[in-house]
């Protein structure tokens, strides 16, 4: 069935991916220098975030996890407020309380974030339930990793969403790693999408390093969730090309597997394609990179200037 999805300018997708990469690299550098706390970067996985988030409508809600910078930036988060949050500053989206691991941004519809692996999966049906009980528009997108699919909550979540007809798009970023454990050591099956069928939930596994493929699949998936009011699972195959949490020497990573995925870097893939098909010049590409670098510079300046929270706010916002 052909759908009419809004046209999205691929160069905008490229710019978003460049921004995410530059943001993560700034954190890596800052963290190596001891100026920024370590984080779980999304380097290598930019296409998954950008492809899915650009398929969403403004009223859609997002749940995410510890590896969320891509989701947040693709959704339009300000890199300065993100960086400030990572650095524990009052100007961060959560006033520095979250740090990098549980950033939520209500104004962008990024509703709940848990760094407890599986936490996002547990909360997602409820966010969709409030949509359906209150007659509110929008579907719910829940990002999670292949590791999260090993937690029983994954299954409980799918079962309930299927049973209660909840409009949740489950997006598994299968990046081959669960911290220091390869998915082969942790999953008795190859694909997370196989499990969806056992709940009667439609699913698709796609190449997560091709942002246009991700976008197309996500547009189909969101449309299906929107019209059916029922869950869908998209498994986005990609690779965590940096370590689990900065710094990480990746000594435990198979060099060949890593090299193969690095050769399919999502930014390079799209950049090469746009230059090859003539829709972008090399200098146009460079201009995007410059623009992004300027934004990251400004972000750093903002974050650096933002003060630490005052210790007398230690118990603010515990209770409503």
């Amino acid at each position: 069935m052909a759908q009419n999805f809004p046209q999205i300018d691929p160069s905008m997708l490229l710019e978003q991916m460049l921004l995410i990469r530059a943001y993560e690299e700034a954190i890596v550098a800052g963290s190596a220098a001891g100026a920024v706390p370590g984080t779980c970067t999304s380097v290598g996985q930019e296409a998954a975030a950008v492809g899915v988030v650009n398929a969403l409508a403004a009223e859609d809600l997002i749940l995410t996890n510890h590896r969320s910078a891509g989701h947040l930036l693709a959704r339009g988060a300000d890199p300065g407020r993100l960086l400030a949050e990572v650095m524990g500053r009052e100007g961060g989206y959560c006033g520095g309380r979250s740090g990098s691991l549980h950033i939520a941004v209500k104004e962008l519809g990024v509703v709940l974030t848990s760094t407890i692996v599986g936490g996002e999966l547990a909360m997602a049906p409820g966010v969709a339930l409030s949509r359906s009980m209150l007659g509110l528009p929008g579907i719910v997108v829940c990002f999670f990793g292949d590791g999260a699919a090993c937690e029983g909550r994954f299954h409980e979540s799918l079962n309930l969403a299927a049973l209660w007809n909840l409009p949740v798009l489950y997006v598994c970023e299968n990046n081959h790693w669960q911290a220091f454990v390869h998915r082969r050591e942790a999953m008795s099956r190859e694909h997370v999408s196989d499990w969806a069928a056992s709940y009667g939930i439609p699913a698709q596994t796609i190449d997560g390093n091709d942002v246009l493929a991700v976008l197309a699949a996500a547009q189909t998936a969101t449309e299906q969730v929107r019209t059916s009011g029922r869950p869908y699972l998209l498994e986005v195959l990609t690779y965590r090309t940096r370590g689990h949490f900065e710094p990480d020497d990746q000594a435990y990573v198979d060099r060949e597997e890593l090299a193969a995925w690095l050769a399919r870097d999502p930014i390079k893939l799209l950049g090469d394609r746009l230059v090859a098909d003539g829709s972008m010049t090399a200098s146009g590409h460079a201009r995007l990179a410059d623009k992004v670098a300027t934004r990251i510079c400004a972000a750093h300046a903002f974050a650096d200037a933002s003060p630490y929270p005052n210790a007398d706010t230690l118990t603010r916002d515990v209770y409503a």
């Binding site: 809600l61 749940l63 961060g92 989206y93 959560c94 006033g95 520095g96 309380r97 979250s98 549980h102 939520a104 209500k106 509703v111 709940l112 974030t113 848990s114 407890i116 599986g118 936490g119 999966l121 547990a122 909360m123 997602a124 049906p125 409820g126 966010v127 969709a128 339930l129 409030s130 949509r131 009980m133 209150l134 509110l136 029983g152 909550r153 409980e156 979540s157 079962n159 309930l160 049973l163 209660w164 603010r316 916002d317 515990v318 209770y319 409503a320």
Partner: protein, 322 residues
Amino acid sequence: MPILTLYDAVGAALTEEMRRDRTVMAFGEGIATKRHELVSEFGALRVRNTPLAEGIIAGTAVGAAATGLRPVIDLLFAPFLCYAMDELVNSAGKLRYMSGGQWSFPLVTLAMTGAGWGVGAQHNHNVEAWFVHSPGLKVVMPSTPADAKGLLKAAIRDDNPVLFFLDIGLLHEPGEVPDTEATIPLGTAAVRREGHDVTLVSYGKTVHNCLRAADELAAAGVSAEVVDLRSLKPLDMPTVLASVAKTGRLVVVHEANRLCGVGAEIAAVVAEEAFASLKAPIARLGGPDAPVAASYPLEQAFVPQAAAIAAAAERLCRRQYA
């Protein structure tokens, strides 16, 4: 006033609050079956049976609470909370703070607890202190049907996650329950009996054991004041401290294991803040460091009974302490 059991008082509170506020809904393993009158009045969407999976029940409530609903979930027996700890503790209790106050989580979790059914430690384990210890949560445990109704109404209206424990031993005890809109604010203890020689502090079924002990003590010439905490967090320490300031003696009593229980907290606060008025050591009666056996006599032996409470109080009153 109508006479209701504690179980039915909970039903009355649910009914009134669901009438008042269409965002209140209830779900759990069998709640639509066991409280079918709620389904009849509010429909099968607002009152739902769930799969047998406490974690996703709680997680769903947390997600729904953050985004506009006021869920009440029934997790049946307190030990089953073990399957929902992440959702209650790490999500509901922390995500408001960690998000810099962006969300609130108005949800109520019901759980039955304590002796009275003779089915052993995997159904009978008083874990309320876990949630007092954990930040961002409120904890309630009523000792009468009227309190159950008034406190549950307040809990449903509260914008924070509330753990609401129902003492199994009291569930089918009848009592007068107002049919009015009366709510009881969380964090207010009740002085159940006034006295001037010794303060007995408790909650749940052992409040009644304290009242029986107070009768025995009165016969022995000792005047005991009985404080029913009702809320365990917020904890109404001003009421406890005022009573101890008057009596100078304190016995804390609960069914939960003694080690790191709510009684420890109360004793510690009193030892810090009312030291000067203490005329005697603080006595603490609680369950031993053991699971609860199914066998009836052992189940009963686990719970501090009136005679032991009276004996402890009398010891404090009779002996001279340097």
